[in-house]
């Protein structure tokens, strides 16, 4: 039987193939190769710090890591820069890491995520702050209490702010010259603002946009709401926090402070909010500004620096960006946001939050203290990509090369306008921001759309705020 013979040969051949494959697999298995465990710092007892990738450049990250190793040679650290489009995207990626069981020990968190992390993931820093009060006194003396209060939640401190940005108004001085206008007074109003935009529009050709803004929580409609004497959500203060205020701030500065902000009832269908939206809608209808969805911060530096935009809201972070884009210190300047019913400004701050999953809490606290040191912050923020939380760092020397001339505005927004506060960012912040963006777009899409859109925003916000995060 030929078939039978062939079959035996075939089987022997397959057997030989199998043995060969097993041998190759065995060799491959024994071969030195790169696996996840080989990533430096992975599972080697390092303190893992997740930062928003774009927040610090590579040199700054190296300085942060190497400097800390010099001070604490016994603590291994690994900086994990997470690339993300915005804070919401960043938090999603951190949560994914937590779900995957590879949670970092510390996370760089901005105002947008302070309460979300505090409520669900964070460790209060109270006991360490009390223990090292003497060491921290100079830090708190240099940092505005509003920034610290924005990092508190229900009476406890969750982060030491290292940077912040208030929404002030940047003006292109070349555009002002073409319009025959002077730099506005710091006490300017919405009417002055509208008049200036009209003058800019008249003196510049097609393809020019007087005011450029983006549709988001920070720097979008919220600063206009603040100036209009209202907010997206009713604002109050949590009790507690006396331990901090009494330890670190004098009487005048701790008056009215509490244990962090509470944002509760939505106010979207109030007359004050509608008034703000009506004003923005009128600017759009008059072609004095971009529609909010049209605004995208990614090309904003380009259009502003080339004179295609006259005015835009931004924080101290823009000084570095405009300098890199080739603008001279005299090519632009900065003013407070124009006032309406109030001069209140909004800000957002950031610092390191400690995660509950961390097994290296004492080491993490050492890093938090280290990152808040003035010499470290000076290295990190050398490029003026943000506003340092320490008042003493916001000085003439810092802005000599980049501008603007009136750099004092950045910290004065906190020091001279005591009501300035953080953007509304409850634990449900992600959904709140999504709803704000969505309904702002609808509200400003067509004449008469403001009130119906705000009513829908109110309904959706109420639903979101009732939801447990």
């Amino acid at each position: 039987m030929t078939d039978s013979l062939l079959s035996r040969r075939g089987l022997m051949r397959y057997g030989a193939y199998g043995a060969g494959a097993a041998a190759v697999a065995g060799v491959a298995a024994g071969w030195d190769r790169l696996i996840a465990a080989d990533i430096p710092g992975r599972d080697d007892g390092s303190l893992v710090i997740a930062t928003l990738g774009s927040a610090f450049n590579l040199d700054a990250q190296r300085a942060l890591r190497d400097g800390f190793r010099e001070v604490h040679p016994d603590i291994k650290i690994r900086i994990n820069p997470v690339q993300a489009y915005d804070w919401s995207d960043f938090f999603s990626k951190i949560l994914t890491q937590i779900a995957a069981g590879t949670a970092p020990d510390l996370v760089y968190v901005a105002t947008e995520g302070v309460q979300l992390f505090a409520q669900r993931l964070g460790v209060p820093l109270d006991r360490w702050a009390k223990r090292d009060a003497a060491e921290l006194r100079s830090y708190f003396a240099d940092v505005h209490p509003s920034l610290v209060e924005s990092m508190m939640y229900e009476g406890s401190l969750y982060q030491l702010p290292v940077e912040f940005n208030a929404a002030d108004m940047y003006l292109n001085t070349r555009v002002l010259e073409r319009a025959g206008a002077d730099l506005p007074d710091n006490d300017w109003t919405h009417d002055d603002f509208t008049t200036l935009l009209r003058a800019m529009k008249r003196s510049n050709g097609a393809g020019f946009t007087p005011y450029f803004w983006t549709n988001r929580l920070w720097g979008g409609v919220v600063p206009w709401l603040f100036a209009g004497g209202t907010n997206l959500l009713a604002e109050s203060k949590a009790p507690g926090g006396d331990w901090l205020w009494n330890s670190f701030y004098p009487e005048a500065q701790r008056r009215g402070r509490g244990g962090g902000y509470r944002w509760t009832t939505p106010l979207a269908d109030s007359d004050r909010v509608a008034e703000v939206y009506d004003y923005l809608a009128s600017l759009i209808q008059e072609d004095l500004c971009t529609r909010p969805e049209g605004g995208d911060g990614r090309n904003l530096v380009g259009v502003f620096s080339t004179g295609r935009v006259g005015v835009t809201p931004a924080g101290g972070f823009w000084a570095g960006g405009l300098h890199e884009a080739g603008m001279k210190p005299t090519d632009y300047d900065v003013r407070y946001f124009p006032r309406r019913h109030t001069r209140r400004h909004q800000f957002g701050a950031a610092g390191y939050a400690m995660l509950r999953t961390s097994k290296m809490r004492d080491e993490a606290w050492e890093f938090i203290k280290y990152a808040a040191r003035k010499d470290v912050m000076t290295q990190l923020f050398a490029a003026n990509q943000t506003t340092p939380a320490r008042r003493s760092m916001v000085d003439a020397a810092r802005y000599r090369e980049t501008g603007p001339a009136h750099w004092q505005v950045f910290y004065d927004t906190l020091d001279k306008i005591p009501s300035t506060g953080p953007i509304p960012a409850p634990p449900q912040v992600n959904e709140v921001e999504q709803l704000l963006i969505k309904h702002t777009g609808t509200a400003l899409a067509s004449p008469g759309a403001v009130r119906p859109a705000l009513r829908r925003l109110q309904g959706d916000l109420e639903k979101a705020m009732e939801r447990e995060v």
């Binding site: 993931l121 393809g207 963006i437 969505k438 995060v469």
Partner: protein, 321 residues
């Protein structure tokens, strides 16, 4: 009883499996067994891959859709609550409507452009030029959808974008591409079609090459015009390819994410929010993985239903040679 007695013939019971076995050689050869074993060995990795990376996640999503889960805490049983929640959520319902509108527009445009260009490229032209066109039309498909969308966002910018600048040079007023409901959907569809039509184009080019030239020549001899030839010959003979292109196109279009996410973030309002965007936002931004899974299950059911419908209709409209 004699040998001549006629007995009624009792037919053997029909047992196809036995009958097939009877037609085989007396004993299954070792070679056949070896071939079967080899076939199983070759298929096994793919089957394992499909089970691990497709079947298990699908089953996992169905199970997760019955729980509330926020990544941080343990899942809690929710039963049908997630489905009740999403079926009364206007954003979810609008996203399904948007996705269907997008699918119809995008797939129709994609197939039309791809077919016209495939017929054009298949016409008389130098071989090198044909290669250039084929590469150029296929090229966008290998680019990242997110990168393309970033570029498109710049192109479609109402205030500074080149598209409106170009329209302006011929007297067309500025179009609010990304900031009006219709404009935003149009921009998303155009961005998507520009990237995707290359796939259908390649399929059509292959399909056209399989149509015997003699059929067209015979039609030409009978006096058929160019358009008539394409309507009466090309399209019917290309119908199997059209079926494949439309099935793949519809499945892809129903899962669109990058273009609306980057270009419009779903706006203005909810006008370009798609189902997959809602799944992403609900899961990763609002930490409601159970509800997101429930939306995913509904999308899966929709895709299955649409695909089944297509195959059902194909019996009537698809002609095989």
């Amino acid at each position: 009883m004699t040998n001549t007695e006629i007995r009624p013939v009792r037919p053997e019971p029909t047992r196809p499996r036995r009958a097939r076995k009877a037609s085989e050689p007396a004993a299954t050869t070792a070679r056949t067994r070896g071939t079967r074993l080899l076939a199983v060995l070759f298929l096994a990795p793919t089957v394992v891959g499909i089970v691990v990376f497709t079947v298990v996640p699908i089953v996992g999503s169905v199970v997760l859709s019955l729980f509330q889960w926020d990544v941080i805490d343990d899942p809690r049983w929710a039963g049908a609550a997630n489905y009740r929640e999403i079926l009364t959520d206007s954003t979810v319902l609008v996203s399904f409507r948007n996705t269907l509108v997008f699918m119809v527009l995008a797939v129709a445009l994609q197939l039309l452009i791809a077919l016209v260009l495939a017929i054009a490229v298949n016409g008389r032209m130098p071989k090198w030029l044909r290669s250039v066109f084929r590469s150029a039309f296929f090229f966008p498909l290998v680019l990242s959808a997110a990168s393309i969308s970033v570029v498109m966002k710049y192109l479609f910018n109402q205030d500074f974008g080149p598209v409106n600048w170009l329209l302006g040079t011929v007297g067309i007023p500025s179009v609010p591409w990304l900031t009006s409901e219709n404009g935003a959907m149009a921009a998303v569809v155009l961005a998507y079609v520009w990237q995707q039509f290359g796939f259908s184009f390649l399929l059509f080019v292959g399909g056209l090459n399989n149509i015997p030239k003699e059929v067209h020549e015979a039609a030409a001899l009978d006096g058929a015009s160019g358009v008539r030839k394409h309507l009466a010959i090309t399209l019917p003979l290309l119908s199997p390819t059209l079926l494949v292109a439309s099935v793949v196109g519809i499945i892809n279009a129903l899962q669109v994410f990058e273009q609306p996410y980057v270009l419009t973030a779903g706006g203005p309002g909810d006008s370009t929010r798609t189902v997959v965007m809602v799944i992403y936002e609900t899961a990763f931004e609002q930490l409601r993985f159970g509800e997101a899974s429930a939306v995913g299950v509904l999308l899966f059911a929709l895709i299955m239903a649409v695909t089944a419908l297509q195959f059902r209709l194909s019996r009537r409209y698809v002609h095989y040679q």
